[in-house]
């Protein structure tokens, strides 16, 4: 008994080996390289090299100089995720419960935008939201926007772009959860005289929580780090942390600052996700 168990244990470790090697090579090593870079002396340069200085002050510097884009990124990511959740839930619910024989077609349509490049899709939003375009003209006609008002180069355009680009990441996990819900449970709530709205919140919503959790994570994490939407649809006042990291790395060649910012962003996201997952109690859900 204990012999076979021991043997089984060895097999288990062997099976773990590829994953451990993979993670070691492509996660642990780059991660430590990043961590080390974030502690280099900032006065170094490409020409003269960088020295390890345990410069924890780099972190103070980046938080002081760049807290605004950092907060902005988290805010845009959170708003876009919330909108995605509302839109995505309705869509996933409709596809799972109401689409009937159109179900597969509608799922394909959700993924269809991925057939074109991310950049092209984002750039086409510039046409849709342009100052002389249909949407702006209509909004001006009903006085929701002033005559000089615009959507492009405002936070509205950035959040709209994020919402559009990450919606499929929300819809697919939601659909997977909602589709599995046993209809008879919802019928049972009706038989017990629950109003459909009460039935939704007591039965459908709790059963779809795994989809909600994975959908929000899949949307929020990339949305916070995304800078293409802010760069193409926003103005200088909508700079997000991703663009700051990019310009510090490629233009200013200030690798310690770029690395420290990346570490801060990563830490913030990990903490937020941990809190969120604890709250939502995903251990049992997933």
């Amino acid at each position: 008994m204990s012999d076979t168990e021991r043997r089984r244990g060895k097999v288990g470790y062997l099976l773990l080996l590829p994953a451990v090697l993979w993670l070691g090579l492509f996660f642990v090593v780059p991660f430590y390289s990043l961590l080390a870079t974030s502690l280099f002396d900032q006065s170094g340069s490409d020409f003269r090299g960088y020295e390890m200085d345990y410069a924890f002050g780099n972190y103070v510097d980046v938080l002081r100089d760049y807290w605004q884009p950092l907060v902005r990124s988290l805010l845009y990511g959170a708003i876009a995720t919330a909108i995605c959740l509302v839109l995505g839930y309705v869509l996933a619910y409709a596809i799972a419960f109401k689409a009937g024989r159109w179900k597969n077609l509608m799922l394909v349509l959700v993924i269809a935008p991925f057939f074109t490049s991310f950049l092209i899709r984002t750039l086409s939003w510039k046409l849709i939201l342009s100052d002389d375009g249909f949407i702006v003209n209509v909004l001006q006609a009903v006085h929701l926007l002033g005559d000089d008002g615009r959507l492009l180069a405002t936070p509205v355009a950035v959040v709209a772009g994020l919402t559009y680009n990450f919606l499929p990441f929300m819809v697919l996990p939601l659909f997977a959860s909602i589709d599995k819900i046993d209809h008879r449970l919802i019928e049972a709530s009706g038989d017990l005289y629950a109003h459909p709205v009460v039935g939704f919140f007591k039965v459908t919503w709790p059963l779809s929580l795994p989809g909600v959790v994975s959908g929000t994570l899949l949307t929020f994490i990339p949305a916070v780090g995304d800078y293409i939407n802010a760069q193409l649809l926003g103005s200088t006042n909508q700079r997000v942390i991703g663009s700051v990291i990019e310009s510090q790395f490629t233009d200013a060649n200030n690798y310690p600052v770029a690395a420290a910012l990346s570490m801060v962003l990563m830490a913030l996201i990990v903490v937020m996700v941990l809190v969120y997952v604890r709250r939502a109690g995903t251990e049992e859900l997933l």
């Binding site: 168990e5 244990g9 288990g12 642990v28 090593v29 430590y32 390289s33 961590l35 080390a36 870079t37 502690l39 280099f40 006065s43 170094g44 340069s45 490409d46 020409f47 003269r48 090299g49 960088y50 020295e51 390890m52 345990y54 100089d65 884009p69 750039l123 510039k126 046409l127 342009s130 100052d131 002389d132 000089d148 615009r150 492009l152 180069a153 193409l232 926003g234 103005s235 200088t236 006042n237 909508q238 700079r239 663009s243 700051v244 310009s247 510090q248 790395f249 490629t250 233009d251 200013a252 060649n253 200030n254 690798y255 600052v257």
Partner: protein
């Protein structure tokens, strides 16, 4: 029940062991990472003479060039400048268009150049400031002057006295361009100066400036009365403050890369800082887009051919430079790419190639225009890092 319990305990302890082991490995690797020389970054500066490769040109009749897109006439077509070069010299050209951005390209090849390793290219084409940086880094091989007589004879005078390579030892301009102002004549009146662009009330929120630091700051330095070729740190800060003021006033819609023309045609912006070659191409679609020489002058820049360290076909690459500095070849190239032709005599040759373009001031600018051009002082790596950081802090709002 009894058979389940020990099993459960054993999984638990295995998981615990994994966790413990993981933590130890984590700590160990982290200490190692912080100490290991692997993660210290050594200086990348090199001596180009110590990084020369043996020239295989005589036996291998080929060479590799990395250039920007849309910068040459259709290469494979019979009668194109490149196919004629291949016929004349018997050298086959491996022409790749993998330069999209100076900084990105630098990041891509920096590590190899910095450790004296080959980058598998015999010629690269980069803009002035990045060329200056590459040469400063010691990553570029000096040209053999006797192999490129046309360069010395035919380069435009206004492109000659670059502070970072006054003797033309390391670079040869491929194409040049002007940075000035473009506006949409259907929607607004002429914009005569950069000062006007960043202060005129009817343009508020309807202009863009370029996100390349040197393009925009060159003009800002002019606006505050400094010389972009020779300015002090105080003048730099004056210029940057003036820009910050325009940003704070909401005068700018954004800093743009190369997507400003779309906004200009669509009417999202009325005027912008623009590159001449882009404007010519936009004028084919929309004649209302006009290019003006601002009162402050024009910034003149080039993308430059250079031979990187460890290139193995330098002589073949030099043949290419010499070939494209022939006025007739240069005229045929200019007829297609519409940037400023850096070769003297190409204008006369253009009479037979395409008479329509002979008088185009954005391909063959006159002496008066060239006299008003300026370029940007070369920055050492410390200034580069400081100025780029301060610049990006302003453009970040």
């Amino acid at each position: 029940m009894t058979s389940e319990e020990p099993a459960r305990r054993s999984t638990f302890s295995r998981r615990g062991m994994l966790k413990g082991g993981g933590a130890v490995a984590f700590a160990g690797v982290s200490l190692a990472a912080l100490k290991l020389p692997l993660f210290e970054v050594a200086g990348a500066a090199q001596d180009p003479l110590g990084c020369r490769a043996a020239d295989l040109s005589a036996t291998q009749r080929s060479f590799v060039i990395s250039n920007w897109t849309g910068y040459i006439d259709p290469r494979k077509k019979p009668g194109s400048t490149m196919s004629e070069f291949e016929q004349q010299t018997g050298i086959s050209v491996d022409y790749t268009v993998d330069v999209n951005d100076n900084s990105e390209f630098y990041a891509k090849v920096k590590n190899q150049l910095g450790s004296c390793a080959p980058i598998d290219r015999d010629m690269i084409v980069l803009t002035d400031w990045m060329a200056a940086r590459m040469i400063g880094l010691g990553g570029i091989q000096p040209l053999d002057k006797s192999a490129v007589p046309n360069l010395e004879a035919n380069l435009l005078d206004s492109l000659r006295d670059k502070q970072w390579d006054p003797g033309l030892d390391y670079h040869a301009p491929w194409q040049s361009g002007l940075t000035g102002i473009a506006y949409n004549a259907a929607k607004t009146g002429e914009v005569r100066s950069f000062e006007e662009l960043i202060s005129r009330a009817d343009l508020k929120g309807k202009i863009t400036l370029l996100s390349e630091m040197r393009d925009t700051m060159g003009f800002m330095l002019k606006v505050v009365g400094a010389d972009p070729r020779r300015f002090t740190e105080d003048q730099w800060h004056d210029a940057l403050d003036r820009l910050a003021q325009a940003v704070g006033d909401g005068q700018l819609r954004k800093f743009s890369g190369n997507d400003y023309l779309q906004d200009l045609s669509a009417g999202n912006i009325l005027a912008c800082e623009a590159w001449s070659g882009d404007v010519i191409q936009a004028q084919y679609d929309d004649p209302n887009i006009k290019f003006v020489t601002p009162e402050e002058g024009l910034s003149l820049w080039s993308d430059n051919m250079m031979i990187p360290n460890q290139a193995t076909h330098q002589a073949n690459a030099e043949k290419w430079i010499d070939y494209y500095y022939d006025p007739e070849v240069a005229a045929r190239l200019a007829n297609y790419v519409n940037y400023i032709c850096p070769v003297q005599g190409a204008r006369e040759a253009m009479e037979t190639v395409n008479p329509d373009l002979v008088d185009n001031p954005l391909i063959f600018p006159d002496e008066e225009t060239l006299a008003q051009t300026f370029d940007f002082m070369p920055l050492d790596d410390r200034q580069q890092a400081q100025y780029e950081k301060e610049w990006s802090d302003v453009t970040a709002g």
